[in-house]
């Protein structure tokens, strides 16, 4: 390494602890699980939105209050937000280092949690009021 001309460590010693963080397997697994869930859910979601296009406010409320659309929407929102939180996490660890990485990861999780809460609350409120 150019910045350590007097480094006496072995090549192995220099690269140890610089590799994978060893905690990515669970994240990668859940990215895949949610992605598989999102294939049919996205088709259903697009179908639902196309159906809602020709409805007014009361029609939209009535449609979203039915069980299947409400459950579909909840599943899409939850799987989607977990998926996007994990996706953004991998973008952050690829491009941001050090202290800013910790802030970015925290902001990502908080944003996703708030968004999920808001969407679930709104969907349940439509369904139950």
């Amino acid at each position: 390494m150019a910045e350590h001309p007097s480094d006496l460590r072995t090549p192995l010693g220099r690269v140890r602890f610089l590799g994978a963080a060893r905690t990515g397997t669970t994240d990668a697994w859940f990215v895949h699980v949610t992605s598989i869930a999102l294939i049919p859910l996205t088709v259903g979601f697009v179908w639902l939105i196309l159906d809602l296009l020709r409805k007014d406010y009361n029609g939209v409320r009535a449609e979203l209050a039915r069980p299947i659309p409400a459950i579909l929407l909840l599943a899409f929102v939850l799987a989607g937000i977990v998926h996007m939180e994990l996706g953004m996490r991998s973008i952050i660890v690829d491009y941001i280092n050090g202290q800013s990485r910790a802030w970015a990861l925290a902001a990502n999780t908080l944003f996703a949690a708030l968004l999920a809460l808001a969407c679930v609350y709104a969907t349940l409120r439509i369904a139950f009021t």
């Binding site: 010693g13 610089l18 937000i81 973008i91 009021t129």
Partner: protein, 136 residues
């Protein structure tokens, strides 16, 4: 910082991904980049869905504000972009699942799959928007 250099582990800066410019651009690489960009766009685009759900859960006047925005030129443009990003990312995701399972990695097929992602994403977007304008 000689003292911290002597320590292994987290005190030394960890390596970042190699930069894009060191590689020759290929179709699979281009679609990998677009997959990430569409993913990041959908991350922001979900705010539209949240706005829609919150407005619909509130009252007719609040919903009218959302409805007016989404039917405006800017709103339609954003929804069109969201639709394309959604379909492109969906097909790209299926392609990645196929690759992760160990199939479709040979030279002609992997490029064809990358092209199919690009063409399929646009095609599905146009079909769904056509259906959208037809039904409403």
């Amino acid at each position: 910082m000689a003292s911290s250099d002597a320590l292994p582990g987290p005190r030394r800066p960890r390596p970042l991904s190699p930069h894009l410019s060191v590689y020759r651009l290929t179709m699979t690489m281009a679609m990998s980049i677009v997959h990430r960009i569409t993913g990041a766009a959908l991350y922001v685009g979900v705010l539209l869905l949240a706005w829609f759900l919150i407005a619909a859960s509130a009252d007719a006047a609040t919903f009218a504000v959302f409805s007016g925005f989404i039917q405006s030129f800017i709103g339609r443009l954003m929804l069109f972009g969201f639709t394309w990003a959604l379909f492109h990312h969906l097909i790209g995701g299926i392609r990645h699942i196929v690759w992760d399972s160990g199939y479709g990695l040979d030279a002609p097929l992997r490029d064809q799959m990358a092209w199919a992602t690009l063409i399929g994403g646009f095609a599905l977007t146009i079909v769904v928007w056509g259906v959208g304008y037809a039904v409403r």
